[in-house]
């Protein structure tokens, strides 16, 4: 207990991994990475590594769950048992059930569900390595996977966490900062719709800190959004001539 914990932010405003306060971890985003699914995506943010896949629209099961005027979305956010320090029990934890719900609700706000009555769209998010920010990275990948499947959406959505660490607001907290920080706020937005699709807060913030955190999140989300667009456009690169039908 006597061990003195290292400060998370240095005098000159650097974080323990060397990042500036408003700097996110290196990101990699790819679309169309799993062949069996109708649409898929992969995201890496630092050491966080996540696959997302979309199946459907397909028949809703059981059939009584089908809605006559729109598709239903099913979403499963799951962490592999080896994705964390130690070993996580393989089944769905309460945390995973809650996160599956908030991610699904975020996606329901952007998918044009009315287009596919009586059907179901399944979204699977599998975290193969968790190093903070998994729900927002998972949502970012899921949104991309939906677009990859050609399912009509109002906009893409992307998400990132902001944290309060030693009194300062930081973008994309690391696991260490998340654990020892004062607050963690996952945010996801559909930027072109000018809207928030997911918002949670764990920890304490006053209203001016909240505003600062939200605008910092917007900054990170704009970067992720551009990467999503690039990943999608890549599928069409080199298509210089489109045939007539």
């Amino acid at each position: 207990m006597e061990k003195v914990e290292q400060r998370l932010i240095t005098e000159d405003g650097r974080r323990i991994d060397g990042r500036a306060l408003d700097e996110m971890r290196p990101v990699r985003i790819e679309a169309g990475v799993l062949d069996r699914s109708d649409g898929s995506a992969y995201i890496e943010m630092g050491k966080t590594k996540i696959y997302a896949a979309v199946y459907g629209p397909k028949e809703a099961h059981p059939r009584h769950l089908a809605q006559p005027h729109k598709a239903i979305l099913n979403c499963r956010y799951h962490m592999a048992s080896f994705s964390v320090e130690g070993r996580k029990a393989p089944g769905m934890t309460r945390r995973e059930i809650e996160l599956s719900k908030v991610i699904r609700e975020a996606l329901e706000s952007i998918v044009i569900l009315e287009e596919f009555p009586r059907s179901a769209i399944d979204i699977f998010i599998e975290v193969i390595q968790a190093d903070a920010g998994t729900r927002t990275a998972g949502l970012t990948a899921a949104s991309l996977a939906l677009a990859d499947a050609g399912i009509p959406v109002l906009d893409l959505c992307a998400g990132i966490a902001v944290g309060k660490v030693e009194g300062r607001i930081v973008l994309d907290p690391s696991e260490e900062e998340d654990k020892r920080g004062e607050a963690d706020m996952p945010v996801a937005m559909a930027p072109r719709l000018g809207s928030i699709v997911l918002l949670q807060l764990n920890g304490r913030l006053n209203s001016s800190e909240f505003r600062e955190a939200l605008s910092l999140a917007k900054k990170g989300i704009d970067v992720l959004y551009e990467l999503q667009r690039k990943a999608l456009s890549k599928k069409f690169s080199g298509l210089t001539q489109i045939g007539e039908d």
Binding site: M1, P68, H69, R94, R95, I97, E98, S100, K101, V102, R104, E105, A106, E108, S109, I112, E114, E115, P152, L154, A183, M185, A190, L193, G194, S195, I196, V197, L198, L199, Q200, L201, N202, G203, R204, L205, N206, S207, F210, R211, L214
Partner: protein, 278 residues
């Protein structure tokens, strides 16, 4: 071309009606947009608990009970007591709820209550350690929704906080490494904050607080904000599908803060009457 935003008949006309009323500063049940339903709060209603409370918020009724026991701390917090929150949406409360293990809504409710209590640092958990790394106090909070007319978050947080604030636990003594309860004298938990949550519904560019279940089916989306005191938030949960427009956020924060002060004042009135620690 895709047709968007076509909701089925019953909720479309309800949405239009609700929005029309909100524009006039009114609501279906006669309330104003920023007005809560009547709140009733009673504590110490279940004798076999260490602390309990019942809350009626309009037609939504919640009961919360607190029990404590000795147990092992979590490996990552060897110097803190534990909080365990469970919530159930009982089938007797609404036809929307079904028997069976807690579904995702019940789990979400429990976790939002947990975050309000834990992140606000309501209870000084480091004062509930008897043997470091081995024996601590475990506080079980069970929340039951008995009657449901929308917004189960705010009354559940109120009930949990009131039950915790009025709970009485035995005095524990450590003798030769054993922890022994002296049941003849009971003490209150070390309470520092009184978190409350405010549920805000969004419809177009307008907002309202404390939606009923009818309003919940008509609004675009909703958001729960947990305030640990007059200045600080401890938890937020966007709940339900739908978009929150950037230009409504400032008003959401302002109104929820104002309402949290109002709810906390009512809570303190009740706690003051029963002589809770301040």
């Amino acid at each position: 071309m895709y047709r968007i935003g076509e909701k089925p008949y019953p909720s479309k006309i309800m949405r239009d009606k609700l929005y029309e009323l909100i524009l006039r500063g009114e609501r279906l049940d006669g309330r104003r947009p920023y007005q809560y339903r009547p709140l009733e709060l009673k504590t110490s209603i279940i004798e076999k608990t260490d602390g309990s409370a019942m809350v009626n918020l309009g037609g939504t009724k919640i009961v919360a009970g607190v029990k404590t026991a000795l147990g092992q701390p979590y490996p990552d917090t060897p110097d803190q007591g534990n909080i365990v929150v469970n919530a159930e949406l009982l089938p007797l409360a609404s036809s929307f709820f079904e028997p069976g293990p807690p579904d995702e809504r019940a789990i979400e409710l429990a976790r939002v209550v947990d975050r309000c209590v834990r992140e606000s640092k309501m209870i000084e958990l480091d004062k509930l350690v008897y043997v470091h790394g081995r024996t601590v106090l475990v506080i079980y909070i069970d929340v039951y929704v008995l009657d449901y007319d929308g917004n189960y978050f705010d009354p559940s947080v109120l009930a949990a906080v009131a039950a915790l604030a009025t709970a009485k636990i035995p005095l524990y003594e450590v003798r030769n490494g054993d922890v022994i309860a002296k049941t003849e004298s009971r003490f209150g938990l070390p309470v520092r904050k009184f978190p409350v949550s405010v549920t805000v519904g969004l419809i177009g560019d307008k907002i309202l607080v404390d939606p009923t279940s009818l309003e919940e089916s008509a609004i675009d989306t909703s958001i729960v904000l947990g305030w640990s005191d007059d200045d600080e938030m401890a938890a937020i949960q966007k709940n339900l599908q739908g978009l929150i427009r950037f230009d409504t956020i400032d008003e959401v924060i302002r109104v929820s803060r104002e309402k949290s002060v109002e709810l906390r004042t009512k809570l303190m009135e009740v706690l003051g009457r029963v002589g809770a620690p301040s």
